[in-house]
Amino acid sequence: MDEKNREDWLDRQLREAAPYIDDDGFTAGVLQKLPVARPRRQSLRAMILIGTTLLACALAYVLSDGGRFLAVEILRLTALPTLWLLVLAVGSGILVMAGGLVAAISKTREVQS
C-alpha cells in the first residue's frame, strides 16, 4: 500500500511538473513552415466525379434502349388527372426543398464548428 502511495505521489508530481504550455505563436510558426497546399487535388476530384457521372449517364442511356422508357413514362404522366399531377409536383418540390434544407443546416454547423 505504501509503495502504491509513493508511485501515485511520484506520478502526480511528474504531471504537475508539466503544466500547460501556452501556444504563444507556436501554431502560427508551424503553419508558416508547412508546404503550400495543392489545390490541384480539388479539381482532380471534381473531374473524377463529373467523369463517372457522365459515364453512368451514358451507360444508363445505352442500357435503357436509348431512354425509350422515359418517353413512355412521360406520356403516361401526361395522361394522369390534373389533381394527381398537382400533388406530384408539390410532393417533388417539398422533397427537393427538404433535401436542400438538410444540406444547408449541416453545412452551417460545419462552418460554425
Binding site: 508530481q13 501556444d23 508551424v30
Partner: protein
C-alpha cells in the same frame, strides 16, 4: 460541436486543409513541447525547434497515420525520432541549465524546491528510463503505446519505467508522501 482529431485528420487528408491541421497543432502543441523540453533537459529553444519539425513532419506524412494508435501517440513517436536524430547529430545531449530551470519553475503549480529536485532527478536518469517514465507516468501512455513510440519491446519499457521510478523515488526520498 467540437470536431474530433479523426475529423480534422480526414479534412487534412481529403482537402489538404491547413486550418484543420492548425487546430490539431493547437490541441497537441503543449504535450509535444512539454515532452521535448524534458527530453532535451529544458533547452527551450531546441525543444521548440524540434516540436516545429515534429508537426511539419506529421503534416507531410499524415497519410501514413493509420488510426491504429491515438494521434497523440503517433505525434510522440515522431517527436521522439526528431529528438533522437538531433541528439545523434550533436553527438552529445545538452547539459542541464540550472538558471533556465529556476526561470521555468512555476510557483503556482508545485513547490519550487520539489519541482527543481524532480527536474534534476529526471535529467540525471539515463535517456531510455527518462523517456519511458515521461511517456508513461507524465503523459499517461500505456506501456504498449510507449513501446510503439520508443520502438522497443514492451518488456523493456516496463523494466525502464520500473527502474526509472525506483531511482526517482530514491532521489526524492526527502520529499516523499508522509
Amino acid at each position: 460541436m467540437e470536431l474530433t482529431d479523426a475529423n480534422l485528420i480526414a479534412r487534412v487528408l481529403v482537402d489538404d486543409d491547413q486550418h484543420a491541421f492548425g487546430e490539431l497543432v493547437r490541441r497537441h502543441q503543449s504535450a509535444v513541447r512539454g515532452l521535448l523540453r524534458q527530453l532535451t533537459r529544458t533547452d527551450l529553444a531546441l525543444a521548440d525547434d524540434l516540436a516545429q519539425d515534429t508537426f511539419v513532419r506529421a503534416y507531410k506524412h499524415i497519410r501514413s497515420f493509420r488510426g491504429e494508435a491515438r494521434f497523440s501517440t503517433w505525434l510522440y513517436r515522431i517527436a521522439y525520432n526528431c529528438f533522437r536524430e538531433d541528439a545523434r547529430r550533436r553527438k552529445e545531449l545538452v547539459g542541464i541549465d540550472e538558471e533556465q530551470l529556476q526561470a521555468e519553475a512555476d510557483p503556482q503549480t508545485a513547490d519550487p524546491g520539489l519541482r527543481h529536485d524532480l527536474m534534476h532527478a529526471l535529467s540525471v536518469l539515463p535517456l531510455r528510463e527518462r523517456s519511458a517514465v515521461l511517456l508513461c507516468c507524465q503523459n499517461g501512455l500505456s506501456h504498449d503505446e510507449a513501446a510503439r513510440v520508443l520502438d522497443i519491446p514492451l518488456g523493456t519499457v516496463k523494466t525502464n519505467v520500473l527502474r526509472g521510478r525506483v531511482k526517482l523515488q530514491k532521489m526524492l526520498a526527502a520529499w516523499g508522501p508522509n
